[in-house]
Amino acid sequence: MNFTDVLRLPCPSDGDYAALSVYMQRLAEEIEAKILAQRALISDETNPPTAIWIGPNIAIGPFSTASIVELSTPGQGFGVFTNYTVNGNLPQVSATKGLTFNEAGVWHFGFCITSVASGAVTNDSNRLFRVQIAKGTSGGTQQIELFGRHINAEATIATDFLTGQAVFNVDTETAKYGINTVFTHTNAASNVSIPVNGVYYWATRIGSTDSIEVL
């Protein structure tokens, strides 16, 4: 039996004629395994785990300056576009651990949120949306990333747009990761609502944190 130099694909030598069928089967199986492995890599490259959430399907609020609103997707009628599942379920954005990420690696997460004052706007009253990527540990919640957007509303504009992004690492304990989301405001003149489909989240996996081996 001979083998190619790199991939070790088998081919028969002069004394192997009687075993040609066996060798052909082995070659076929090894080619298939190699192609399947390459397909998996190409799939990772062209179709990484990605999710987009749009909601809620019913407006949230109006709520006052005293309220803290969690804009998580479970139970708030979010539509989900995704190419992956988490333990058989659609991925969620939630403070509850283990609902969002299906695989370890570097992830890129972002949000676009619209808020609307239900009446008059207090000039420079802030709108604040914060996101915490957190991991549950035996010692409590470990903050992986804290980011958000803080804007001051203009008196003449009732609608505000908040956006943010983060790139972070999720380790192999994906079931311990969650996303805390908090929206608050200081608009004393009236209350604020999150309109129907006013929240847009997205997440995509960039790749593993393995060191590059092939350039």
Binding site: T4, E45, H150, G207
Partner: protein
Amino acid sequence: MVADTSLGLPYQQGTDRACDAPDVWCDFTNTLETLLLPIDTSTGRLSPARPCAKVARTTTFTVNDATNPGGVPIPWETVVFDTDNMVDLTKSQYEITPQRDGTYYVLTTMSGTTPSTVTTSATLGVSTTDWATNPFFTSSTIPIHIDQCPMLETSAYFWRLGTVEIFTAATSTFGYSTVVSSTGSLVLTIATIMMAVYWVSDVV
């Protein structure tokens, strides 16, 4: 008579002798290997890992516009992850330097506070300036290439700049760094600041 496919894979035909098999077979596997290896090389550029790195600073850092009107580069403290040896804080505490040419997505985020009395705000920038020359520069001393986010409100305490940049070793001798600046009297206290970079595609 041995024939070949359009990609050069040889195969026997009905007129060939059985004893031709070993040569044809080995030619076939050798040719197949030369066809498969470039696919490995191509997929290996993105999977399982692509060049990406993230650096952070969590120790309070003060930017005083009065003394540094051109802005201040951020000296990073920790490497959160690095798949392609892009960060060497002992060599340069300011930069993430790509090892592979291409288009990169660069994201820098910052949280901090400004005194309630200030009337201006800070901006975040991504630069490819060699800060080792003069970390606390004025724009007249060294050329800078910088991509900045719009100024946010004075009271803002989350800043972000996400941008796509092209890196080639032939034109860039320095990697990506984050610079914080403003246009007026401002003292900004940075609580946490991070920069993440990941490779998107080749530039050929």
